[in-house]
């Protein structure tokens, strides 16, 4: 019997700051504690400000999920007014948002996740030379191809939204710029180029073929592109057996358009799809350095405990849906949206490989959505309609960031923001324990992970943590 404790950090190639404390027994993680060691206080910052300032300030929570925050803020304010964006404005906002999500997914796959396969620790593996050539940090051929393709795809945001990140183009009533016929043609060309990148590099085959996969057997037969390389590596390392999730999947539904959300909303648990009841959300504060009691975000407060008293160990609150932990992200979104492959790969529970496959699947499907949206965009339409905010009222904005369910809850009083609460995807996935002692999803996923004596920054732990694609700056905000 040997027992030790490990503090893992700084955690590279996750967005923002993360520290994980591991209790290890006999070479396996017995307990894990995820700490978000950065508190900035965006929620109290917004109190007393003009409501529309949320559109400028909340995107600046994060330099990678900026448009997601923007979309959630616009939707929350719109719901206070009981209004709706101009339908064509909603479509333009969806294009902006989907481009960001797509960029985040390819960045995660190529820069954040696969870089670990190039580590010298894997030098003896048959796939290592190829992984090194493709994924070595900042040098690999896949890494370079990815950032070039990504920068070009973001021209769509430059065109519609002025810049990335931190566009102010998305408003409660639509978008600030009516695209022209020429913009539409440029966006279509940009997407054609991006499809070429995806098909020649990431998938090595038509996107439709990946989208058409329905079974685990069919997936295991996929050998082309970096997706094929990943599957080969994953098989060898047993990533299917690492990092189990809570087997409850949450999606608020992505891309609200006039005829509904393109990826549907819901909670998938025990083989059943249920509607999301956001009224059952509570943020537990028992293990967060926060003062106050557990509350629904519409009644929640953010008052940091400056003494950082035990037993708390993170600035992150612990959101629970009907009292339980949930996993959120691309995999959850595709499971909830009933994609057969997503449902098939989680038959035995979610895992590191399934999360990566969920993201690859969503890359293919999002590109297809974008192509269809740009084709149907009507430059002659109205892209913004007036939404008059009342001086008093409450609103809720529920969207899907690349990393999962993102919610904004706002209350206006006498014409200014009285309360603003945010639950980001990684707040769900990387929450600390709750009052019942139930660990958050990543904490639970790490239990049982193999940790060799010699490792002070265990590889298994890194794979599991990065499989969730955490965005720690959004987590605590």
């Amino acid at each position: 019997m040997s027992a030790r404790s490990l503090l893992v950090g700084p955690f590279n190639r996750v967005e923002g700051d993360l520290e994980i404390r591991l209790e290890i027994e006999d070479g396996h993680v017995r307990a894990a504690y995820a700490n978000s060691p950065l508190f900035r206080g965006f929620e109290p910052m917004l109190q007393g400000k003009p409501p529309l300032d949320a559109l400028t300030l909340t995107p600046r929570i994060c330099g990678i999920c900026s448009i997601s925050q923007s979309a959630a803020a616009a939707q929350a304010l719109c719901s206070v007014a009981g209004g709706a964006p101009a339908p064509e404005g909603a479509l333009a906002a969806a294009i902006l948002h989907a481009v960001e999500n797509l960029c985040d997914h390819i960045t995660h796959f190529n820069l954040f996740f696969c870089a670990d396969f190039a580590r010298p620790a894997y030098a003896a593996r048959s796939w290592h030379p190829r992984a090194t050539e493709r994924f070595t940090a900042m040098k690999g051929s896949a890494v370079r191809a990815c950032i070039e393709a990504r920068a070009q795809l973001l021209h769509i945001v430059g065109l519609l939204g002025g810049k990335w990140p931190h566009t102010l183009a998305i408003q409660p009533g639509g978008v600030t710029r009516a695209p022209t016929l020429r913009d539409k043609a440029r966006m279509a060309s940009t997407l054609t180029a991006f499809r070429r990148y995806l098909e020649s590099t990431v998938f090595g085959a038509p996107l439709e073929a990946f989208d058409a996969l329905e079974t685990v057997e069919a997936l295991r037969g996929w050998t082309t592109g970096d997706a094929g390389l990943f599957l080969q590596i994953s098989d060898d390392l047993g990533l299917q057996r690492m990092g189990p999730g809570p087997e409850r999947y949450l999606s608020f539904g992505a891309y609200p358009l006039a005829d509904g959300r393109s990826f549907g909303p819901g909670v998938w648990a025990d083989g059943q799809l249920e509607p999301v009841d956001s009224a059952t959300i509570r943020e537990d504060l028992s293990h967060a350095w926060m003062l106050g009691d557990a509350a629904h975000p519409s009644a929640g407060r953010t008052v940091p405990d400056e003494d950082m008293a035990d037993p708390a160990y993170s600035w992150c609150k612990a959101p629970r849906l009907a009292g339980r932990t949930v996993e959120t992200g691309a995999l959850a979104r595709q499971v909830v949206d009933a994609h057969p492959l997503a449902r098939a790969i989680i038959a035995g529970g979610s895992n590191v490989e399934a999360r990566v496959i969920g993201r690859l699947l969503e890359i293919a499907r999002t590109q297809l959505l974008l192509e269809a949206w740009v084709a149907q965009l009507k430059p002659e339409a109205v892209f913004m309609q007036p939404v008059d905010l009342p001086r008093n009222g409450t609103g809720e904005g529920l969207v899907e960031a690349a990393r999962g369910a993102l919610g904004h809850w706002v209350r206006l009083k006498d014409g200014v923001i009285d309360s603003y609460q945010i639950i980001a995807p990684t707040t769900w996935n990387f929450s600390p324990r709750d009052a019942n002692g139930t660990p958050g999803p990543v904490e639970a996923a790490l239990e049982g992970a193999f940790v060799p004596e010699a490792e002070d920054t265990p590889l298994s732990v890194q794979h599991i943590v990065r499989s969730f694609d955490p965005c720690m700056v959004c987590t605590v905000h």
Binding site: R40, T107, M138, I147, H155, V157, G158, G162, F383
Partner: protein, 315 residues
């Protein structure tokens, strides 16, 4: 992450081509955990040379001056402590983004986490580092301010530093590189013709100038956004929303809504840089009276409604 939007060539090729390599970047490097802690120790002890320390994000000094709102994971030390330890070791120190430069958005509202910039606290000199701080090569903290900062502003600053071509004269009064700080966002703004006639947009989504009603301060804000362009040629004003002066200290607290213009007796409070008030008033009333119908109509439309007149062929 805006850095990854650098193009022609990409950020990795651009920097590698100039002989610049990352000792460590939290989002891009392979090294993680223990490997990074050992690297930081070597830099702190002087065993590893640090040419440039580039810091993103404001430095949090709370709660109660401890810096514990922002701990560098795995080290048991605050970012405040690390910055103070590493900055004197660096040849140059760069604040990347307005938060790192001046405190920025993180210090908005009541500044709940007591955020400061590296060498400024808002307009005031002296932040996480003293007012008199100079890096090893003699420069104060170089403020590559912007929210976000333009990827080229970061890469070009690094290129100039690598070529030993950035001296104190190349920085403006807030230590921002002049190569982008010598311009106003107004320069090259596609709404310039509307500005000339004070033909104003009444609400977001309209084509007119946004100075009079929608909070645009591009005539006072430094930046070459409308010359250089973002993400293939965009900018805030090109996308139909106002410049909020994000390269400036304390832009996060405009004392009014970001998309509304404060006025006194119906006249915008902030005037264009370097313009005497009386002249502005005289020119504005004259040009407003002379606004051609095309410009007046288009100003409050969401797209061009009236085309420029095509000159008839000369007889």
């Amino acid at each position: 992450m805006s850095l990854l939007c650098a193009e022609a060539p990409s950020v990795f090729d651009l920097l590698a081509g100039a002989g610049i390599s990352f000792l460590w970047h939290p989002a891009l490097s392979e090294a993680s955990g223990g490997e990074v802690r050992r690297l930081l120790d070597r830099v702190e002890s002087g065993a590893e040379t640090l040419d440039v320390l580039a810091v993103e994000g404001s430095i949090l000094t709370g709660p109660k001056g401890t810096g514990r709102f922002q701990m560098l994971s795995g080290t048991g030390r605050s970012m405040l402590d690390w910055v103070r330890a590493l900055a004197p070791r660096a040849g140059h120190v760069m604040a990347v983004g307005t938060c790192a430069a001046f405190g920025g958005v993180t210090s908005a509202g009541g500044n709940p986490a007591s955020a400061v910039g590296l060498q400024y606290d808002g307009h005031h000199l002296g932040g996480a580092l003293d007012a008199g701080f100079r890096a090893k090569h003699g420069l104060p903290v170089i403020n590559v301010a912007g929210c976000p900062t333009h990827p080229d502003w970061v890469t070009e600053t690094l290129l100039l530093l690598a070529a030993d071509a950035l001296n104190a004269d190349a920085l403006d009064s807030f230590a921002r590189p002049k190569f982008y700080a010598e311009n106003l966002v107004h320069h090259g703004c596609p709404k310039n013709e509307f500005y000339e006639y004070k033909a104003s947009a009444q609400q977001l989504g309209q084509m007119g100038c946004m100075m009079e009603h929608l909070g645009c301060i591009g005539t006072q804000a430094i930046g070459d956004c409308n010359i250089r362009g973002w993400n293939g040629g965009g900018s805030c004003t090109r996308a139909g929303y106002p410049c909020i002066n994000c390269t400036a200290p304390e832009f996060e607290e405009p004392k009014h809504g970001f998309t509304e213009t404060p006025k006194f007796a119906g006249i915008p409070v902030g005037l264009p840089s370097d313009m005497p008030k009386a002249w502005f008033m005289a020119l504005a009333s004259l040009s407003k009276a002379a606004t051609p119908p095309r410009i007046e109509k288009n100003a409050t439309a969401d797209r061009v409604k009236v085309l420029p007149k095509v000159r008839a062929e000369k007889p």
